[in-house]
């Protein structure tokens, strides 16, 4: 049953393109909730965990108001590889993947909503959209929250709001994240400055792989740090305006690069494409750098025969878990680099090759 969620690197909702999709990859909203009368996961008993899981599962399965069906998976029933793929797809957090005893998840049919049970908090409602859609993602999360609050006794106080295990989530329990591709700002050495400015505004900027600040493929995640003392609308408005400023800066940097060094940029982009389509060994690091450059080439219309969504898919599917799923066996790291090169070559060469063959036939 889980297999249907593991085959595709990116779900269909990711295919949408709009004015922001040259820079913003996806938007994510997360609401942290807990049930009154139970200890938080770091201190609770297995029995409490079970009761919480049952209460949440029932609330979702029995509700007639939810717009989609949800599939339930207990972490302990998934293989390590399956868990890794779910993490690589951002459907579950690395922390939940480690919770073999008590953790579980409910996943919507379209993979846009995942509800994590007994991670750091009893409940984490996560909604994702393609591109820059804070409002849309929040409305979806809010609607699910409103349905669940009818049957689940949320831990809430008038003073501190929704109670969470960690005081960094207290209040609204809301974390809004925007995932952005910022190659020009990175290339021109402006990222550090931006990260510093963001911190002062109560925002965090992190690399795509979460905790560490090192970024892979020039992908950054901007999210709010403050959850208490500000209403949801204000938190969203703040992050909206901050993200818009970063988008504007990235666009300016791209324009300047094109103006000053178009030829060098074109060279860089095509070298990356050459590597991806011809290399026989690719580390995730090199693949990520090349994919980022090709993606920039597509966004600047230097490359026009590869859709941007294909690159998004490659960035997810070139990760270790996916690769091993692709060949259906456990691979040692060195072997992964070889398979990665093969897989990327197949994906990127496929389309043009079919076109050429079609032309030959005529």
């Amino acid at each position: 049953m889980i297999d249907s969620f593991l085959t595709r690197a990116t779900p269909t909702w990711m295919n949408r393109e709009d004015d922001y999709s040259d820079i913003v990859i996806s938007t994510r909203i997360r609401l942290a909730r807990n049930l009154d009368g139970y200890r938080f996961p770091l201190a609770f008993s297995e029995n409490e965990a079970l009761q919480i899981e049952q209460a949440v599962t029932h609330a979702i399965k029995d509700s007639t108001q939810l717009s989609q069906n949800y599939a339930y998976f207990a972490i302990k029933d998934l293989s390590p590889l399956q868990r890794q793929i779910l993490v690589e797809k951002h459907l579950i957090s690395p922390q939940l993947a480690k919770k073999e005893q008590v953790g579980s998840m409910l996943l919507s049919e379209d993979e846009a909503v995942s509800i994590m049970v007994n991670e750091e908090d009893h409940l984490r409602i996560q909604c994702m959209t393609a591109s820059f859609q804070l409002q849309q993602a929040y409305e979806q999360a809010d609607a699910i929250d409103r349905i669940l609050e009818k049957t689940l006794p949320y831990a809430f106080r008038g003073t501190f709001g929704y109670l969470t295990s960690c005081p960094t989530n207290i209040g609204t329990g809301l974390r809004a994240s925007v995932m952005m591709h910022l190659p020009a700002l990175t290339l021109t050495g402006q990222m550090n400055q931006i990260i510093n400015a963001m911190t002062r505004l109560g925002m965090t900027v992190r690399g795509i792989y979460g905790e560490g600040s090192e970024s892979l493929a020039n992908m950054y995640q901007v999210s709010n740090q403050i959850t208490l003392g500000k209403a949801e609308d204000d938190i969203l408005a703040d992050i909206q305006s901050v993200a818009e400023k970063i988008i504007q800066k990235e666009r300016q940097a791209r324009e300047r690069l094109l103006e000053k060094a178009e030829f060098a940029l074109e060279d860089r982009v095509y070298r990356a494409l050459g590597t991806l389509t011809h290399a026989r060994i690719l580390t995730s690091e090199e693949a990520a750098t090349c994919l980022s450059n090709v993606r920039l080439g597509i966004d600047l219309k230097l490359i026009d025969n590869i859709p941007a969504t294909t690159i998004n898919e490659c960035i997810v599917s070139m990760q270790p878990g996916f690769l091993q799923h692709y060949v259906n066996e456990i691979l040692p790291p060195a072997e992964r680099d070889r398979i990665r090169a093969t897989m990327l070559r197949e994906v990127l060469m496929n389309k043009p090759m079919i076109d050429e063959k079609g032309a030959d036939a005529i």
């Binding site: 009154d36 938080f40 560490g212 003392g229 938190i235």
Partner: protein
């Protein structure tokens, strides 16, 4: 050539770095080189956990750590629901259960002032909370009327009000809230 790092094995890997326009060459053995590979380094180095960072945040700065006895007693305070002490919270950076917020409520505004926008929630409220709040208010007003009825020696009326209040209290318990 011997590896620059372990100074034991033969150097088989040459790493060229450009620093401030100057080319620098390093020679490592394959064991050490694999550790320097930026990608491996990312996973091998155990990053400072957020809790460790937070516990520094939550605790008092080092120049204030010489606590007087009164404060010592405060950090010994224990949450009746989960057994967490405030000291344990400072250490873990996380609370044990929702009741911790009630138990340690006097310490929290100071803490939230530091890490949040303000110590007062101003966002969404669950609709059931409004309901519970409304029921609590209703019970309060019934109890007042009951008092008046008793003072006026209208015992039949008072009994009726008492039953009404009991019913609401039961409803409140069903809503999952504390009656207090």
């Amino acid at each position: 050539m011997i590896c620059e790092h372990c100074k034991q094995r033969n150097a088989t890997v040459t790493v060229t770095q450009v620093q401030n326009g100057q080319k620098v060459e390093h020679h490592y053995c394959d064991v050490c080189a694999s550790q320097f590979h930026p990608f491996h380094a990312e996973f091998k180095q155990e990053p400072i956990s957020i809790q460790q960072l937070l516990s520094n945040w939550f605790g008092s700065p080092s120049w204030q750590q010489k606590m007087d006895e009164k404060q010592q007693v405060q950090t010994q305070q224990t949450c009746p629901q989960c057994g967490f002490t405030y000291k344990r919270f400072l250490k873990e950076g996380k609370f044990g259960c929702p009741s911790c917020y009630d138990t340690f409520s006097e310490h929290l505004p100071k803490l939230f002032n530091r890490i949040q926008a303000s110590p007062q929630h101003s966002g969404k409220i669950p609709s059931t909370y409004n309901n519970r709040f409304a029921i609590k208010k209703q019970i309060e007003s019934i109890r007042k009327r009951m008092q008046v009825a008793v003072e006026d020696e209208q015992f039949e009326e008072a009994a009726k009000l008492r039953d009404e209040a009991r019913e609401l209290e039961q409803q409140l318990q069903l809503e999952g809230g504390d009656v207090s």
